[in-house]
């Protein structure tokens, strides 16, 4: 394609070639995200209907329904998660690659050239730059929709029940009047309210603590071994502390049904990583990051 006889073309820096398949995939993910956020209420309605269908199927047990819905979501997003893990691993491996390290050093002062070289290596190795974050992004609408879906479905307050009725009516699958009120109790906990357990007179949010703990364990276990000077590993380490705190704080204030979702989601994530042989048990041990 390049014509050395054409001086203008010869002087122009080489544009990185784009893999059409990867571009299509990226565009498809973006389109799904845009569509999902444009029709966010439809995503909520869909999740509410699935949740209530499961609730009916399991004998009106809301806790079990949330657990099964979480498992269903995990199952549906299994290929995406697998792709995310694969993408993350490829990016991780690249950090120790000789050629990669060489271009970092060689073009340290020429960002444009460095970017071109990086793109070349991505292309040659078949790595999608967005391979690790796109699968995660596509799950965001589900997570965002799940929060109102669980809140409406439990129906602890008048407006939640009205919203639930509208969500169910949108699909027309279920006899709403016969279902309401839903049994929101699970293991003695009202799934519609933030959970507190009195321990020696102190009200302790056990479920929220379990959310924080499982998030911490999940992040630790699924964190790849760090290489010296690896920026992405440092970022991952920080997320390993921020995420558990954030989800703990969130779980304190919101319906405990959401805490059940987070706990089960964390456990299933660990299971998936373990099944793919990607769990790094050493990360749980003090000083266990040295590999």
């Amino acid at each position: 394609m390049k014509n050395p006889s054409n001086p203008t073309q010869a002087q122009r820096p080489e544009l990185p070639q784009v893999n059409p398949r990867e571009t299509l995939k990226t565009l498809a993910v973006i389109a799904v995200l845009v569509l999902a956020f444009m029709n966010f209420s439809s995503v909520i309605d869909l999740l509410v209907n699935i949740l209530i269908l499961i609730y009916q199927f399991v004998g009106h047990n809301f806790g079990i329904a949330i657990i099964l819905l979480t498992a269903l979501i995990r199952l549906a997003t299994w290929p995406l998660n697998a792709q995310q893990m694969k993408g993350a691993k490829a990016m991780q491996d690249l950090q120790t690659d000789k050629e990669w390290m060489a271009i970092q050093k060689k073009y340290a002062k020429d960002r444009e050239k460095l970017a071109q070289e990086q793109m070349r290596i991505y292309r040659e190795r078949g790595i999608n730059v967005f391979g690790s974050c796109l699968p995660m992004l596509i799950q965001f609408p589900i997570l965002f929709a799940l929060i109102p879906a669980i809140t409406y479905a439990i129906g602890s307050y008048p407006l939640s029940i009205l919203k639930l009725s509208k969500s169910l009516a949108a699909f027309g699958l279920q006899d709403v009047a016969a279902l309401i009120p839903l049994n929101s109790k699970f293991l003695g906990i009202d799934m519609g309210l933030p959970e507190r357990t009195l321990i020696f007179g102190v009200s302790v949010p056990i479920l929220a603590l379990i959310v924080g703990l499982t998030t911490f364990i999940q992040t630790k276990l699924t964190m790849p071994p760090a290489n010296p000077g690896d920026q992405s590993a440092a970022t991952g380490k920080m997320m390993g502390y921020y995420m558990p705190i954030m989800l703990f704080m969130f779980s304190i204030n919101y319906a405990s049904g959401l805490s059940v979702y987070f706990v089960i989601s964390n456990v299933l994530s660990i299971v998936q990583y373990a099944m793919m042989g990607k769990v790094n048990w050493r990360n749980l041990l003090p000083g266990g990051k040295k590999t």
Binding site: Y157, A177, P181, N253
Partner: protein, 380 residues
């Protein structure tokens, strides 16, 4: 360092997005006593002088001091109830389940915002407070979402109330029973509805459940005593049900187009009510027939109708207040701001019709006899 900052920003943004996902879960509670309007809106109860339309005081719950992990925000949505001793009972609908009685005449300025003094409180309930309580002969009957009515002695002088009686309205073993509507009384019995698809009567001398009728749909609104002496309640099974107050013998009076949410309103032989599909009904209890074909102003209705003179006013989800004449002619009386919602039953006091709004610039609007806004209140 830059990367660290962006991660923190991302986490904060994520938390913000998550927090904002659910939106409002309940509509405001509105009541009046004399020339004061009480509005329970989101996290605060406001007392507004109807003559000057000034804020007299506001109440956002008691500062609980240091309570570990107890960050669940206060939620005031239950219409405050004024009792014969002048105290105002305020229910907090968050998971601390607190019932307060405040002295509306005795308020002090804390942090520049006048706050009434708390005279007593009660926190033994296990469920959310959604229903307003009812005072009968020095006793307060407070229905809770845990399926029980807590009976409090208003004259025991205790600052921390203990229930003198607990009436179990729900069926044993049923844990989804929720009492969401204010009970009514005929002097001897207390009539209450339940979200677990039931209407029940309690003997006020023995506190025993006299009868309990199970229906096909939940009953979020209360019961009304019709001009014919029968009790009426609407259900989510799209039915208006009639009950014998003595025996509980019941029959379906009318099938409706949508769920009946609000409490029916009796006016002589007529019973007015609305459904969630947006239809308004006028039912003649003496002749057991509709006075006119149901009319549909414009949108879903959860509020009860308000009878003012010879017109019926109804608030709709679209923020409209409609006037319906005695012969069923509908006209728009007042329209709230764009996207505002009116789920709460309007209240008439001091010649003004008060309407509480959700998702609006103002929380409360006072309308004159022609439906013209006289003043608005936005929480300040």
């Amino acid at each position: 360092m830059q990367k660290k900052k962006s991660i923190i920003l991302f986490v904060l943004l994520f938390a913000l997005v998550l927090s904002g996902c659910t939106g409002a879960v309940a509509w405001p509670g509105l009541s009046t006593s004399g020339d004061v309007a009480y509005l329970a809106h989101t996290s605060t109860v406001y007392a507004v002088d109807l003559k000057t339309h000034n804020l007299l005081w506001s109440f956002s719950g008691e500062k609980a001091g240091f309570t570990l992990f107890n960050t669940n925000p206060d939620m005031f949505i239950v219409p405050p109830v004024t009792m014969t001793d002048g105290l105002v009972v305020i229910a907090n609908a968050n998971n601390r389940h607190m019932l307060y009685a405040v002295d509306p005449k005795n308020f002090s300025a804390i942090d520049k915002a006048p706050t009434p003094a708390v005279r007593w409180k009660f926190n033994q309930a296990k469920g959310l407070w959604i229903a307003p309580p009812l005072e009968i002969d020095g006793l307060l009957f407070a229905p809770n979402s845990d399926g029980k009515i807590y009976v409090l002695d208003l004259n025991d002088g205790m600052p921390e109330k203990q229930a003198v009686r607990t009436i179990e309205v729900s069926q044993p073993g049923k844990n989804e029973s929720r009492l969401w509507a204010q009970p009514i009384t005929d002097g001897e019995r207390l009539f209450i509805t339940s979200l677990d698809k039931a209407v029940a009567a309690v003997d006020l001398s023995t506190y025993e459940v006299l009868w309990r009728v199970d229906l096909n749909g939940a009953v979020p609104g209360g019961v009304a005593l019709g001009g014919d002496g029968a009790l009426y309640a609407g259900s989510l099974a799209k039915k208006l049900e009639r009950f014998d107050p003595l025996t509980g013998a019941h029959q379906t009076a009318l099938e409706t187009k949508g769920w009946i949410w609000g409490t029916p309103v009796a006016d002589g032989d007529n019973l007015y009510f609305a459904d969630v599909d947006g239809y308004v009904y006028s039912y003649n209890t003496a002749e057991q027939r509709l006075n006119w074909e149901p009319v549909r102003p414009d949108a879903s209705i959860t509020a009860s109708p308000l009878v003012v003179g010879d017109q019926i006013l109804i608030a709709t989800e679209s923020g409209g207040i409609y006037s319906i004449s005695a012969d069923g002619k509908v006209s728009l009386w007042f329209q709230g701001k764009e996207k505002s919602k009116a789920y709460t039953t309007p209240v008439f006091a001091e010649g003004l019709t008060l309407v509480a709004y959700l998702d609006s610039d103002y929380y409360l609007v006072a309308l004159d006899q022609n439906g013209k806004a006289v003043w608005t209140f936005s929480g300040k």
